[in-house]
């Protein structure tokens, strides 16, 4: 049973955005607050740079504004330089563990799923991160969008064996 699960689940812990290697170190649960702190900064940037604005997303897809292209482009450049330096200098984590990277494997889901997400992104004006910042900004009705996104993920999980990958 365990074996079967590993075969079908080609995404988990390798292709997905989850942490790929399991840490040998066991930390108390409250260590996770450091990630919450990073999230707080991310949430503030989302709002202050209007990344969570439905209007900014429409302007992006109508080529009426450079803003979102600038944000994502700068983030990729800064991220790429950082990843390059981490690899080059073999930088370790604050706990002295090695930082690891896993190559993503191509599957057709990146095209089909990508197109489907793109359609949803332009309707809601939000990708998953901004949905939570929108909720925090007081747009309480966004809880419905988040619940529906959970339902979408659940339906994908239910029918993934039948979908082309």
């Amino acid at each position: 049973m365990k074996m079967k699960q590993e075969e079908t689940d080609f995404e988990v812990r390798s292709l997905d955005t989850m942490c790929v290697n399991e840490s040998e170190l066991v930390h108390p649960w409250w260590y996770n607050f450091k990630y919450a702190a990073v999230g707080v900064i991310f949430g503030i940037v989302f709002i202050k740079a209007e990344i969570i604005s439905w209007f900014r997303i429409q302007e992006m897809f109508k080529l009426q504004s450079f803003h979102m292209y600038g944000v994502i482009g700068t983030a990729v450049v800064v991220g790429a330089i950082s990843v390059f330096l981490i690899k080059k200098l073999k930088i370790k984590t604050v706990h002295g563990e090695e930082i690891t990277f896993t190559n993503k494997k191509f599957n057709k889901g990146q095209i089909y799923g990508g197109l489907i997400f793109g359609l949803g992104w332009a309707i809601t004006g939000a990708c998953p991160g901004p949905l939570f910042a929108q909720l925090g900004s007081g747009a309480l009705a966004i809880i419905v969008v988040i619940a529906s996104a959970m339902a979408g993920t659940w339906v994908y999980g239910k029918f993934r064996e039948q979908l082309p990958h």
């Binding site: 969570i52 897809f61 450049v77 991160g129 659940w154």
Partner: protein
């Protein structure tokens, strides 16, 4: 200082900070930047229903849930203490087009005339909130990531499948905004 912070932040500041989240998470604990997997963890925690895709130890990924919890708190802090009194500036062509569809309130980041509990009881609101949310959840998991996991983390690590995914996101978005959304907004 506080004056500068309450103004809308330029793209290069926001982009640089978001870019720096990538190494910060890696250095704090070898975590790969990503958000949409949280929707999966939430399903795994609440409704695993014997589906193999949701039967894994989601608690091991709880850092990611703390991360989005932080985003939510960041949204609250920013709105309560750092918000700008000026209205959001919108491209005049977009404002003109939206006015045709009866969307005239540009005061918030989220258009209240489209995304509210009242709007949920209209066909347009139902399609946009429930339908749109569903496509986001289904599509991101099918693609194996969202703007964070693919467009930022994946491209930073020069993963070509992430480039394929990112291009697909953009094509989907262009199709929706320019060809399909006008029909939905007209409902």
């Amino acid at each position: 200082m506080i004056e500068t912070l309450t103004q809308p932040w330029p793209w290069y500041v926001a982009g640089a900070i978001i870019g720096l989240i990538v190494p910060t998470l890696l250095i704090l604990g070898n975590k790969h930047f990503g958000i949409s997997a949280n929707l999966r963890h939430m399903c795994a925690a609440c409704f695993p229903s014997n589906i193999p895709f949701f039967n894994y130890d989601w608690k091991k990924e709880s850092w990611n849930l703390f991360f989005i919890g932080g985003i939510l708190v960041g949204g609250i802090i920013s709105t309560q203490y750092l918000s700008s009194p000026d209205p959001v500036i919108i491209h005049p062509d977009l404002a003109k087009e939206l006015t045709q569809f009866g969307i005239t309130d540009f005061s918030g980041l989220v258009p209240i005339q489209l995304f509210s509990f009242e709007s949920l009881f209209t066909l347009r609101g139902l399609i946009m909130m429930v339908g749109g949310g569903f496509l986001v959840g289904f599509g991101t998991r099918y693609a194996g990531g969202c703007t964070s996991g693919h467009a930022i983390m994946g491209l930073s690590d020069l993963q070509w499948p992430s480039l394929v995914a990112t291009i697909s996101f953009m094509i989907g978005g262009f199709l929706m905004t320019n060809l399909i959304l006008p029909y939905i907004l007209a409902l």
